[in-house]
């Protein structure tokens, strides 16, 4: 009897247990279904983040290469970004795109015990900065009559001023990303028009993606410090405007810090030129003067003999004219620079192949109000600046002379060189009210200066999805 009752109770219990099991299995099934979809969605998100990491790593590595091309063919460039790592190796390649740099960037992220990996294969064209008459990372207004037939102009937005009554503007190319004024196709463009662009069908060219600008980081300044031997016997100089730098002819002449000592010192007594820098080294490759004063910065003026890099941790002040020796000798009726053998000179004591001032700073460049110090000039007076000015985090500004003194009204600027800036030049029309003439220094293309950061554009890029493991 009891046995029978227990058996029947047992049946009820078994039924209840079965029902409970069915419910548990049902919930488990639903849970798995949901989890599977969450997993799929999460995978896509993680791979997307890994791709972004690869793109950032590639851009950062390319930026490092722009400052230091020796990284091409060297060991991997490693970056730790947020929650992942990227590793880039770079090689030189010559193919149907022309000479290019091939970067392989592998990004890896570890998330919840899983490793997500993406690889980018990128081909970039690295351009000599000096090819650019002006590269500005915001917007720029190109005034009338710019003579830069072999120089490029780049800015996200460009405005050309043009006036048929004035000489035309001549450029090799004009590259923009957002806007250009006048717009492409305007009759102002053409080889017989007011804005003469020799490449790209004589029109401004829109770039699909902005040019990658060099960022001068601490590591890059460290490299310049090394090039200036700051840890040993340094080529440290912050003031080239000191009277001690004046040659017998009354002008300041600046030479590269290193030279072939067997050839003697940089003196051209017949022309009253004497090299006043006492710290020359017998090292052909030395081209960098370094100033480690972040507040006061560096002062530069004078006649430039050879390829000289003026690198400053602080601002750079252009205290008077900076003139290439080419122009100086030409004004004296002397063909070529006697210090540069390739120009027909008797001496060849430097490795320089051109006379170029290269001003590099992470800060700003100022044209100070010290060019004219006496009573106001009676006629138009020209300040000449021939230099490659690289301030990719700043700009170049002209400091105003006291108003009402009649100085600025008679000052004129003759600039020849290259401007690599974050923002376009400031205050030029006010200070150089008597006129401004802009030109390009052709030797920046034909004889690129050493150790100068470059610019890059991407020619092709492919994603290789490695997946996760």
């Amino acid at each position: 009897m009891k046995k029978l009752i227990f058996r029947e109770t047992g049946s009820i219990a078994a039924l209840a247990a079965l029902s409970a099991a069915a419910i548990v299995i049902f919930i488990f099934f639903l849970s798995n279904l949901t989890r599977s979809h969450v997993k799929q969605t999460d995978y896509l998100k993680q791979m997307e983040r890994t791709l972004r990491l690869a793109e950032t790593g590639m851009n950062n590595s390319l930026g490092r290469i722009l400052i230091n091309p020796e990284l091409i063919g060297g060991g991997p460039i490693n970056e730790t970004i947020d929650d992942g790592q990227s590793e880039t190796v770079a090689y030189e390649r010559i193919n149907a795109l022309g000479p290019s740099t091939y970067l392989i960037t592998t990004s890896t992220r570890n998330v919840a015990g899983k490793r997500f990996i993406t690889r980018l294969h990128t081909y970039a064209r690295i351009s000599n900065t000096g090819e650019y008459f002006s590269a500005v990372n915001s917007e720029i207004t190109i005034t009338t009559s710019v003579m830069a037939a072999s120089g490029r102009v780049y800015a996200p937005s460009i405005t050309f001023q043009h006036d048929s009554s004035k000489p035309p503007t001549e450029l090799r190319s004009a590259q923009f990303v957002n806007t250009v004024t006048p717009p492409v196709g305007d009759p102002a463009y053409g080889m017989s028009a007011e804005i003469r662009i020799s490449e790209d069908g004589h029109q401004p060219k829109i770039l699909a993606v902005p040019i990658l600008f060099p960022q001068i980081l601490d590591s890059d300044m460290d490299r310049f410090r090394t090039l200036a031997h700051m840890a040993g016997t340094p080529h440290r100089e912050c003031d080239f405007s000191r009277p001690a730098y004046r040659s017998p002819n009354g002008l300041i002449h600046i030479f590269p810090p290193g030279y072939d000592g067997a050839s003697g010192i940089y003196d051209d007594s017949a022309n009253g030129i004497e090299d006043q820098y006492a710290g020359h080294t017998n090292a052909f490759a030395d081209h960098v003067y370094y100033c480690d004063e972040p507040i006061g910065g560096m002062k530069v003026e004078g006649i430039i003999h050879g390829q000289i890099l003026f690198v400053s941790e602080g601002p750079i002040s252009i205290s008077s004219s900076i003139i290439s020796a080419d122009e100086y000798y030409a004004s004296k009726g002397i063909a070529g620079d006697p210090f540069l053998e390739y120009q027909g000179g008797a001496l060849n004591i430097s490795s320089s192949t051109a006379n170029q001032a290269i001003l590099i700073t992470r800060s700003d460049v100022f044209i100070t109000s010290t060019f004219w110090t006496g009573p106001p000039p009676v006629s138009v007076t020209t300040q000449t600046i021939q230099a490659l000015i690289m301030a990719p985090h700043g700009t170049v500004s002209a400091v105003a002379y006291p108003a009402g003194m009649g100085v600025m009204e008679r000052l004129r600027l003759k600039f020849s060189g290259s401007l690599i800036l974050q923002d376009q030049p400031q205050n030029f029309p006010t200070v150089f009210a008597a006129g401004r003439q802009y030109g390009y220094m052709t030797t920046l293309t034909t004889n690129p200066p050493p150790y100068v950061p470059a610019l890059a554009s991407i020619l092709a890029s492919f994603e290789e999805i490695i997946g996760h493991e």
């Binding site: 039924l15 081909y123 699909a208 991407i458 492919f462």
Partner: protein, 196 residues
């Protein structure tokens, strides 16, 4: 049965059995409703995942593109380099040759309930076609085109770097007998290479 009646415990037992069976039946009913709901949700999630995968593939093709050649309401075409022979131009000498260019076209094909997205890859004389989202995609419209972009004044499509792509999918299927609910999936993708 006879034994159970005779022993006098059947009323309670029957009541319990009825209650348990009734409970189980109710649970099964609720379960079926939930299952049906989850099933639909699962379908929607699966569709969402499929849409995301399709968008990821389209966006990757755009990022790898060297130029766009056609962008319309229901179609876009772009050019990429074929990397089948490898990514390194030293080992894949033809990588950047004109003959090694891929022409990739995505287009909506209207087939009523069987409408689909078609991807065509043309390279070196051969054509590979693949269909996606069959029966799940709704026709693009001028207000929600498959692809769209802005061409700067005075310039052409090859100067464009960014495409906006959109898919309109049936996320509540017509099986319920009601009006289909369409959900839009979209993204912007920008190519990395400069215009050639």
């Amino acid at each position: 049965m006879y034994l159970a009646i005779r022993k006098g415990v059947t009323v309670i037992e029957v009541a319990i059995i009825v209650a348990v069976l009734g409970g189980v039946a109710a649970l099964v009913n609720v379960g079926l409703v939930i299952l049906n709901s989850f099933s639909r949700q699962g379908d929607d999630m699966q569709l969402k995942h499929e849409a995301q995968l399709t968008l990821v593939e389209m966006a990757r093709d755009i990022r790898n593109a060297i130029e766009f050649t056609e962008v319309t309401t229901d179609k876009f075409t772009l050019t990429t380099y074929n990397i089948k022979g490898g990514y390194d131009s030293d080992t894949n000498a033809n990588l950047f040759d004109d003959v090694n260019k891929n022409i990739i076209t995505y287009r909506f094909v209207n087939g009523g309930d069987k409408s689909y997205l078609e991807k065509t890859l043309k390279v070196a004389g051969s054509t590979i076609t693949r269909t996606m989202l069959t029966g799940k995609i709704s026709a693009p419209t001028p207000t929600v085109p498959l692809s769209s972009t802005t061409i700067p004044a005075g310039l052409s499509l090859k100067d464009v770097s960014t495409l906006r792509i959109a898919l309109q999918l049936y996320t509540k299927s017509k099986r319920d007998g009601g009006e289909p609910v369409i959900t839009r999936f979209n993204t912007n993708a920008m190519k990395r290479a400069e215009n050639q």
